[in-house]
């Protein structure tokens, strides 16, 4: 980790000095052990703030959209999911490739702080990497675990831990790409009856406070004006009630259908802990089953499943 941090700082400094990037987006160590929030480095002397650890979860791709009006190139560090986010934004014409400089980092997978808390308690926690895995120390004692025991769910099913687009790649070991069934949880829900499924989602979505954090953080939600911010027509009013929340989430996932890269940012950003990836997985699963194998964010020129058609598509509508 420290080795990669050093390399990140060095490369950012060099690139800014060489003029290949005016600013850099990366992560810095936050106030708490479980935080490594995004940081914007504006000059070479600040590169010491950059940090790489197992909490660099935030997807930096979305921040590039705000940098488009700024002058000069923006350097960005990209993990596997950030890189797919970049492809997503490039495909949508939301960012300009000529204004970005991408430094890829092979991703070992990120830690879910809640899983750590459940093992060693909440409070001051120290995590050290050992050769076998991680050594956790917290209020409830210390534990030795493998990274996968405390990794984020989205990392456990990550199919592209290596960046798929970059200008240069830092050395490092990526986790093994997942090859199993990514839709297991969605299938479990599908097996329930209509009313049970309705109750499940009613229970989850009644907690939604419509803070729109899931939308703001999503690299697929890059419309300049979002339907949910419009008042003419007023597609959906602001009242937070179950019905409006259901409409919001359903429409949002229809909008990102075939474009979601499963970076899991919506679920991470959700302050109410709503399992949004179960909705994303369902839509992604159907796209794959109905219109053929497709993974979003692998190619900046990709044809989007809902933006195209095949005359021989399945037809259950008679």
């Amino acid at each position: 980790m420290q080795r990669i941090t050093d390399k990140m700082r060095k490369r950012a400094e060099e690139l800014i000095a060489e003029g290949k990037a005016v600013r850099f987006l990366g992560w810095e160590k936050g106030s708490f052990w479980w935080q490594s929030p995004p940081v914007e480095i504006k000059e070479a002397s600040q590169t010491g703030r950059l940090n790489w650890d197992l909490f660099c979860t935030a997807n930096l791709a979305k921040y590039l959209q705000q940098m488009q009006s700024a002058e000069g190139k923006t350097g960005v560090f990209v993990k596997g999911c950030d890189a797919r986010g970049i492809n997503r934004l490039l495909r949508d014409g939301a960012i300009d490739r000529d204004k970005t400089y991408l430094v890829g980092i092979p991703c070992p997978g990120m830690i879910d702080p809640d899983k750590v808390r459940s093992l060693v308690g909440d409070g001051e926690v120290t995590i050290t990497q050992t050769e076998e895995g991680l050594s956790l120390q917290g209020p409830l004692g210390s534990r030795k675990v493998a990274l996968d025991e405390v990794a984020l769910d989205k990392c456990l099913t990550c199919r592209h831990p290596e960046p798929v687009i970059y200008d240069e790649l830092l050395e490092g070991a990526a986790r093994e790409a997942f090859t199993g069934d990514p839709y297991e949880e969605a299938r479990e829900l599908e097996d329930l009856g209509s009313d049970e499924r309705y109750d499940y989602w009613a229970k989850e979505l009644s907690r939604c406070i419509r803070c729109y954090a899931c939308r703001n953080v999503c690299p697929a939600c890059n419309c300049i004006q979002c339907v949910f911010d419009m008042d003419r027509p007023n597609w959906l009013d602001g009242a937070t009630n179950l019905s409006n929340n259901q409409v919001y989430q359903m429409i949002r996932f229809m909008h990102v259908a075939g474009r979601c890269i499963d970076c899991g940012e919506c679920e991470r950003a959700c302050p109410m802990g709503i399992p949004l990836r179960k909705l994303a997985a369902k839509v992604d699963k159907d796209v794959n089953e109905l219109f053929g194998p497709f993974e979003a964010g692998l190619d900046p020129e990709e044809k989007l499943p809902l933006g195209t058609f095949d005359p021989n598509d399945p037809d259950s509508f008679e």
Partner: protein, 146 residues
């Protein structure tokens, strides 16, 4: 669930101008009878129907929603209904996943010559929804007219 015997479902039907709306017209001209449960909204093409329209209809009190368009390949605008087909194949499954009974949302291809099919689709859909009872799911939202 006990259902009031006099209760009749309310179905919102989005019919494309070129085929299904004409199909509905033909059903009328041919004096075919079908339940007066459907409220038709004429749209230029089934591709015009935004998923938001469908959900909005449910939110504001529809017991069922029908999207009807030309048969694939017969679209007046050549390809509109191919997009509709992809969009609603996905949407139908998403609604089901959220717990909406599949019978409440249907998509049918009805040509301008298929008046009898239109009558039959409405009759069948009404029977299916009649059996399910009033839709209480997704209902609510803002009560103002906006």
């Amino acid at each position: 669930m006990s259902v009031d015997a006099d209760w009749k479902p309310l179905i919102v039907g989005f019919c494309c101008n070129w085929c299904s709306y004409a199909g509905a017209d033909l059903a009328g001209i041919g004096r075919m009878s079908y339940p007066a449960t459907i409220r038709i909204i004429r749209v230029p093409c089934s591709g015009r129907v935004n998923p938001h329209f469908v959900i909005r209809a449910f939110q504001r009190g529809a017991d069922g929603v029908l999207v009807a368009g030309c048969h694939p390949g017969d679209c007046h605008y050549s390809t509109g209904n191919f997009y509709t087909r992809r969009r609603y194949l996905l949407m139908q499954r998403l609604l089901e996943y959220m717990g909406i009974e599949p019978a409440r949302f249907q998509v049918r291809w009805i040509s301008a010559a298929e008046g009898a099919k239109f009558a039959q689709v409405v009759t069948q859909m009404t029977e299916e929804i009649q059996a399910l009872g009033p839709n209480k799911k997704l209902r609510g939202g803002c009560t103002c007219k906006g």
